[in-house]
Amino acid sequence: MAAHLKKRVYEEFTKVVQQQHEDLSTKKLRLTKPSKSAALHVDLCKATSPADALQYLLQFARKPVEVESVEGVVRILLEHYYKENDASVRLKIASLLGFLSKTAGFSPDCIMDDAINTLQNEKSHQVLAQLLDTLLVIGTKLPENPSVRMRLVEVACKHLTDSSHGVRNKCLQLIGCLGPVEKGVAKEAESQAAKDVQKIIGDHFNDQDPRVRTAAIKAMLQLHERGIKLQQAIYGQACKLLADDYEQVRSAAVQLIWVLSQLYPESIVPIPSSNEEIRLVDDAFGKICHMVSDGSWVVRVQAAKLLGSMQQVSSHFLEQTLDKKLMSDLRRKRTAHERAKELYSSGEFSSGRKWGDDAPKEEIDTGAVNLIESGACGAFVHGLEDEMYEVRIAAVEALCMLAQSSPSFAEKCLDFLVDMFNDEIEEVRLQSIHTMRKISNNITLREDQLDTVLAVLEDSSRDIREALHELLCCTNVSTKEGIHLALVELLKNLTKYPTDRESIWKCLKFLGSRHPTLVLPLVPELLSTHPFFDTPEPDMDDPAYIAVLVLIFNAAKSCPTMPALFSDHTFRHYAYLRDSLSHLVPPLRLPGRKLVSSAVSPSITPHEDPSQQFLHQSLERVYNFQHLDPRGIQELLEFTIRDLQRLGELQSELAGMADFTATYLQCQLLLIKALQEKLWNVAAPLYLKQNALASAAAKQILEETYKMEFMYSGVESRQVVIIHHMRLQAKALQLIVTARTTRGVEPLFGMCEKFLQEVDSFQRCFISELPHMQGSFVDKLLDLMPRLVTSKPSEVVKILQTTLRQSTFLHLPLPEQLHRATANIIEPTGESDNPLRFTSGLVVALDVDATLEHVQDPQGTVKVQVLYPDGQAQLIHPKPADFRNPGPGRHRLITQVYLSHTAWTEPCQIEVRLLLAYNSNRSKASTRIPKSTWSESLEALPPSENGIEGTIPFSKPVKVYIMPKPARR
């Protein structure tokens, strides 16, 4: 009863607050409206010195100004501007003008004339530049008004002759942003200044100040971005700028050349100092390649990046980028790559190199050697050997993009990519492995290359090894020795790092299924079978043996002669593995083996996966249950949920789908159970005790719906509606339960109102989906809406109760792909018996290493939770940099968690686990609706801290033994 009273008091209190708040806000509005400009005026008049005035202006700038009062404020500012003698104050006023013009909803055309007028008499260069900036803002706010823009451009052109670089800079920027898009318009206007914007800008390519040159190029790029076709004539000018002394000019020029090469790829340009002519894109490619050996690394990065996107370049030029002629004392020498290739083609492999093996061969004609590469020669050779890793990464990326579009280039760049596997910086190594994977369909690895690639398997970084496994999954190997080598190295990897097991098995699965004919001759050796003698049966649980079997079975899938080579125990092991590791071992047709072959009936084509069929069949069954009696429905649901859960365990690729549907059915089941409580008909006082079940069900459904919405990747809006609908039903249930358990009408008012608001926002969010929801709860509810709004809470509850019961069960359409977010904590392992000792009051860092799968935006959502034995729980937000992305859909969290506690008498375990934080504001539904509607509906939920509304635990907790010792005095 006491609690009851308390609640009442609290609610009354909140009401009072609300009223006060309303009063305040209205008053505030009335008070502030006229004061803004007036107060500023008074302040500025009061100001005795420029410093004072500046102070006032600074204070003024901190507060926002309402749309209605902007114009007034601007007038006052202008007035003071004319009076003011001090340049710094004028500067501030000018910047304020620009700032105010940005105010949403304010149309600045009324102040434009004044702003232009101020320009005329201004002497200070800084103020001039600032005023031009203001004009730029005004111009960008009026995109629909070409005449205004023309005027502004004219003004800018007049000031282009200013002696200060700042003013010229701004003028060029303004012309770039506002220059006329179509030439025709400019001619109509017949203003000589704006006739040819490009020419005006182009004239400033030769400005004496490097900053102005940069601004001119940037303005040109701006024109391009706005959709103006740049003239080809500026290509020549731009090429000269590549030799500029200043890096920012060169950097911008490289961009400009790139833009032009994309615009006019096929035009013909002459080569200076000869009569030949080449395509513009080739010429530009050569020039950008040249910049890869620029003195400034910023330019080098830029150049290397841009190279990747020049796919129209002819293959002759492209292949030159990898070209490097070696010589020693003027005699031609072969590169290590060439030597390796020769050795390989001569059939001699991995000979120990002798002194003088690389001895120079033929004499070189001194005239034929070209030391400074003309054009594209060796650009990538330089880029990949650069001292800055940023350049190397950019070069690897560019290689990747070019190789994807040109198979012959892919073949050629292979040697260089393989070399990058030994870079000193891990990111570069990782990047080159990823690149190799992307181009792997175009290439076949030679044995010596494979050898180098496989050597990296011993790397101690898990990221690198996993990336390499992925690469091996899609590599083409040319010989059976290659396969053997790969297998041996992978097994070595397995013994050295046993945690890589899954990844290695997966890798071998693909390796086997891609190269069945190469595996075939290896089978007797791999299974160590002997034509006459029986060999001992290998241990079935040995991961290395399983790895070998995975390779063989996957190869056997498309190689029917292979099973003939198996020994008896191999068949037994197949049956076992097919069951236990079904995602790795494919179904095989084994002749004469009834036991095995019956598992897969031959009539089934691979397209109709039986498990997929099963999933759909069971769902069909459930959706048709309407005619069943309530008891039958419950049983059917229970069975189906159990089936689906089991299916999820067996078929990992269907796990997401099965779990998702099982959760949904579980919600439905809970709802049905709660509604079928016989107690609904019992008088309220008796019911008090037994409401627990229904309210618990409601709570659980709410939790499950959040899981469904946020834990699965691939959920589409169709599913989101259903989930939200289920949540609405749960909330209705909650309302009913509360209504029946609380006495008095007062508290119900609020709840009802909130619920109705939610129904309303649901309708607004999913208006397009409503037609699909015939006969559902919300459909009926919306029909009754006018009645609900006017009726009393008790009636609302009654209506809800009946609608909830009568409403039909909605079908959950399944998306194409659905994956559940999972997390697995690799470290700490939770097996240590030695407590982590530290002095109480100080902190100890615990290394946490976890893999996350199918988590969208892990940086924002994944949190680490630490539970202390005293029930204290801490939520830790890992840094965004702690997440790595080793492959699509996978993430890896490597972070440190700081622990601290007061002294304990003996060591105890704490729990560490990962949580998925969610917030309906960021949900998929909210992208389609204005935010305000959601924030209203959110009031029902507990107040959130920096955008986290709730959390879902999604990893197994790991126990860590710690011992905070008392500090010694």
Partner: protein, 431 residues
């Protein structure tokens, strides 16, 4: 027309005894003051009488600049300043100033204590000489007097190596010293801005060579070491104490770290320990990777590389040993070589050039039976590998530097005349 007069006192058209006199707008500057390895008489030092015949050195020279700590660039310094007599300023970078005296002292010890020469500079002279040194930072413009100013640029090659720009009024000269345009495991690449000097004096050791990518060489080296160690063999790498040794150490250290290897790596002590200390200190002079990661761990604080003790050579199991000297002609490296040569599982990797007559040269040219002192015959069964790790710019690198600096004239020094001829032709053709 400005007149710049250049007089090479050494290393004009050969390698060793680098010493170049530059007269620019009335100022006289001496660039480097090295010794020659090949001679043991007066020819080992530059002939300073060229200057002294007209008066004292101090009166004639405005300053002396040392580009880096290799003895063929600084070996004659104590002789020059203390015995011939020079009291003016000597400029060098901080790492050079730190490491240079160690090498000079070592050089003195070998000549005086081992070979028993007299009339050589003493330890005290080295100390006095170093007192005249003014250390400079990279890109710091030092005003030597009102008119003469010098500025150092990064040159790669060895720790603390620098290129110097000498400027009087509007005339300027850039002297490169030795430099390297390709980065390696511990140093970055040489860099200079578009300073457009009137004259660029550049080394041209590899004027006629274009080298293969460093990565292939490194990979080969690592693969060989790794294979031998996995077989249970021992690897001997004879090195000189400074420079390449550190590069190879870093290379092996990171490889061990990456591949999680456990076999021990040893470094024969001596000079190296002192020098390593300075490598740890001058992190800013190293390459990007070391500079970026030293907050977590200084790469020169080796985890896997330990000091070598003579007794370790007989330990069973695989190991890698760096030992001095680099040509296997004496000392620890030769002792270890004799112990290990008989086993075909072992390997010796020569990371640099070997002079004719040394054991190193013999085994590299394929000799399998060696005659040691006392008429013993040593049969070499271990594998012998050669790997060139050199830190000079190749022809392309030289051209690249010329392109970066945009000089109006180029002077080639520190190389062979014939090779220079080729490069000269090329430079004329390209620019």
């Amino acid at each position: 027309m400005p007149e710049i007069k250049v007089t090479p006192l050494g290393a004009g058209q050969d390698v060793g005894r680098s010493c170049i006199l530059v007269s620019i707008a009335g100022k006289n500057v001496m660039l480097d003051c090295g010794m020659h390895m090949g001679y043991n008489d007066d020819r080992r030092f530059p002939d300073f009488s060229y200057i002294t015949q007209n008066g004292r050195l101090t009166d004639f020279l405005d300053c002396v600049i040392i580009s880096h700590f290799h003895l063929d660039h600084c070996g004659a310094l104590p002789y020059f300043s203390e015995m011939v007599g020079y009291d003016g300023p000597i400029y060098m970078t901080h790492p050079t100033k730190a490491i240079c005296p160690i090498l000079l002292e070592d050089y003195r010890k070998i000549t005086v204590d081992k070979k028993g020469e007299t009339n050589f500079f003493t330890s005290q002279m080295i100390k006095d000489c170093m007192k005249k040194v003014v250390a400079v930072h990279l890109h710091q413009t030092v005003q030597v007097d009102e008119e003469l100013e010098i500025k150092a640029y990064y040159a790669g090659h060895v720790l603390g190596a620098a290129m110097f720009q000498i400027k009087v009024g509007c005339e300027s000269v850039v002297y490169t010293g030795d430099y390297n345009m390709t980065p390696d495991r511990h140093l970055g690449a040489a860099w200079i801005d578009k300073c457009r000097p009137d004259l660029l004096i550049t080394e041209s050791t590899y004027a006629t060579t274009i080298r293969d990518s460093k990565r292939c060489r490194e990979r080969d080296f690592l693969k060989k070491v790794h294979e031998t160690v996995e077989r249970g063999g021992k690897v001997l790498i004879p090195v000189f104490a400074l420079g390449r040794a550190q590069e190879l150490c870093i290379l092996l250290e990171t490889f061990w770290e990456r591949m999680n290897l456990k076999a021990p790596i040893y470094f024969s002590t001596g000079l190296t320990e002192k020098a390593n200390h300075y490598y740890k200190l001058f992190i800013t002079w190293t390459n990007q990777k070391i500079r970026k990661t030293f907050v977590q761990r200084n790469m020169f604080e080796f985890k896997h590389i330990k000091a070598f003790d003579r007794a370790f050579a007989d330990n069973p199991g695989p190991m890698v040993v760096f030992a001095t000297p680099g040509m296997l002609h004496a000392g620890q490296s030769l002792q270890i070589f004799r112990k290990w040569a008989g086993n075909e599982k072992n390997m010796v990797i020569m990371p640099g050039y070997c002079v004719q007559g040394t054991v190193g040269h013999k085994i590299l040219s394929g000799q399998r039976k060696l005659e040691m002192e006392g008429r013993q015959i040593l049969e070499v069964k271990m594998q012998v590998e050669y790997m060139s790790f050199s830190a000079h710019a190749d022809a392309k690198g030289i051209m690249q530097l010329i392109r970066q600096a945009e000089p109006s004239n180029v002077l080639l020094v520190h190389g062979e005349a014939k090779k220079m001829e080729f490069l000269k032709q090329k430079i004329e053709q390209e620019f």
